[in-house]
Symmetry: C2
Subunit: 293 residues, 2 copies
Amino acid sequence: MQLKSLRIFREVARTGSFVAAAELLHTVQSNVTAHIKKLEEELDAKLIERHGAVRLTSAGQALIQYSESILSAHDEALSLFRKNASPRGRLRIGAMETTTALRLPPILAKFHKAHPEVDIELHTGPTADLIKGMMAGQHDCIFVAGKVNHPRLHQFRAFDEQLVLVSGRHMDKMPAPQELQTATFLAFRQGCSYRQRIELLLATHGVHATRIFDFGTLDAMLGCVAAGMGYAILPSMTVEAHRHRFEVHSYPLPEEIGQVTTYYAVPEMDTWTPAMTAFADVLRRATDAQVFT
Amino acid sequence: MQLKSLRIFREVARTGSFVAAAELLHTVQSNVTAHIKKLEEELDAKLIERHGAVRLTSAGQALIQYSESILSAHDEALSLFRKNASPRGRLRIGAMETTTALRLPPILAKFHKAHPEVDIELHTGPTADLIKGMMAGQHDCIFVAGKVNHPRLHQFRAFDEQLVLVSGRHMDKMPAPQELQTATFLAFRQGCSYRQRIELLLATHGVHATRIFDFGTLDAMLGCVAAGMGYAILPSMTVEAHRHRFEVHSYPLPEEIGQVTTYYAVPEMDTWTPAMTAFADVLRRATDAQVFT
DNA sequence: CCTGCTGATTCATTTGAAGTGATTTGAAAT
DNA sequence: ATTTCAAATCACTTCAAATGAATCAGCAGG
C-alpha cells in the first residue's frame, strides 16, 4: 500500500469520479484505475462500486477512515519541515543555572510569543552535563560557559559575564590569601565551569586546596552566602538581579579570570529543525551583534 | 515521502545500524542508504548522524514521531483487512422494527461476545427505507421482509414469520368483511412491508379502503391495539413476546398471505469488511440451516 | 604509524513498477 | 438503435527502486 494510492483513493471517494480525481491530482484516468485496482488486489476487497455512480463499498468506507489519518499525519510531517512555515514541535534547550535564571527568560518569552506552536523544554545543568547530553541527543541546543572543543558543534558567543566574588560581608578589596585559604566556597554541583574559576582564583593567590560545597540551585547558594557560610563566584548580573532578595556583597574578580563568555552551541545547521532555526533567529536579534559572527 | 522509506528510517533509528536495518527488512544496505538519502533530500535536513555510532539528529527525532503515527495507522489498516484476523471496526446493520425487537438481540449478543472489537450500529426502519439506505451506502447489511428485486444484492432467508391479526378483543375466527371494512388498522410508518399485507388481507375479503394509522414503534402500536383502537398485523412471535405486557388477542392469517420470510440482504461478498464476514458466520450458525443455501 | 576490520557510500546495471495515450467496453440517456 | 460519457484495458515509455561490486571512512590493535 502506497501513500500515492491512498491519496488517489481518497480523491476518488471525495469527487465520486475517476476522471475528476485524475485531473485534480495531475495524472491520467488510466493511472487512477490502476492505483485503485492495486489497492483492491492488495486488500483483496472491492473498495469502489462503479455502476453508474461511483460509490464506496463497506470495505471502502472502512479504508477511507484510515486513509484520512495516515494522509493527515503525512501532510503534517511534511509541513513541519517546510521552510518558511511557522515552526511547530519540540525545542529542547539545555542551559546553565545562571543562564536560565538571568538571560533566558526574556528570550524565551519573546520566542514563545513569536512561535506559540513550539513546545519549549528547558533542561538545566552544569556545562559538562549539558555537553554530554547534547552528544547523546537529549538537547537540541545548549548554553555553556567557554568554548567546547568538539568538531561538528557550532558555537556562537551569546553572553559575556563578569564574575564577582560574593560574600555575606562587605569587601572593599580582594580578601587576603590566608583568608581565602581557610574560607569555604559554595559552587554548583560537579561539572559547573564557574567552579573551575574558584580553583583558578585560589591558584593565582598561591593557595591550593580549600573546602568547596556543592549546591543545586542558585537560591540555596545565595541564601547560604548571605548567611555567612562562605564565598561564591557568580556572574555579576546574576548577583545584581537577586540583590533585593539576599543581602550579599560582591567584589569583581581580576580581568583575566573574571571574564567568562557563555556560548550558544548547536550541531551543524543542516540537522536543525525549523524550531531551532527560528530560535537562533530570535537569539540573534536578542543578543544583537554578539552572536553568529 | 514513501511508506517504505519511513519504515527503513524507523528501523535504522531503532537498531542504530544500516546493516542491521537492511537485514531485518530483507534488503541490502546500499538500498537503506539510498532511502535515507532520499528522505533527507526531500526534507532538506540531515536526519541521521553517521560518525561512529549512528544517531538521530534533532530533525531525525522530530520525524521519527510522525513516522510512528503514520506507520502504526498503516499497519492497523492492513490488519483490518487481513483475513483470519479478529475483525475490528464498524458494522452497520439495518433491520425492521419487529426483527430488531425479537430476532436480533440474541444474535447481536452472540456476535458481540465473539468479536468485542466491532462497533455495532443498529439502524431501525421500514423495509423500503432500509433498501434505499443500503443503496446509498448507509448500511453494511439489512434484514428486510420479502425478496428484494435488485441485482448485486445477495439475499438469504433468515427468519420465517407467521403473521397474525392482533386485536384488543378475543377472536375465535377471522372477523367478518363488514367488520374489517369499518375497522381502523395500525401499521408502521410508510414503507413497512407488513402494511402491504393489510391491503392484501382486505382485498381477499373484497374490501377496498380503510383507515390506516401510522406508528413509529412497536410499543405504541401494541398499546393502542390493547386499548381497542383497532387491528394490527404482526409476526406471531413478536406478539407472543409482548403478551405479558399488553393484553392483546391474535388470530393467525390464512397461509397464503400470513407467511412472511425475513431476508438477510448484503452486497456482493468481495465488498465485505471482515466484520461483515464474521457477522454472516454468526448469523448462519444462529439460524441454522435456513440461511446461505 | 601502519594495518585490518567493520560499516556506510558510490556507482553501474538490472529489474520492475508507475505513468501515458489510444482504444475498447459498458451503462445510461435519447 | 444510437449517442454519449466514464471506466477498463493494453501496448509502450519512462523513471525509480533494488542489487552487487567497489570504494571510502572511522576505529581498534599491534
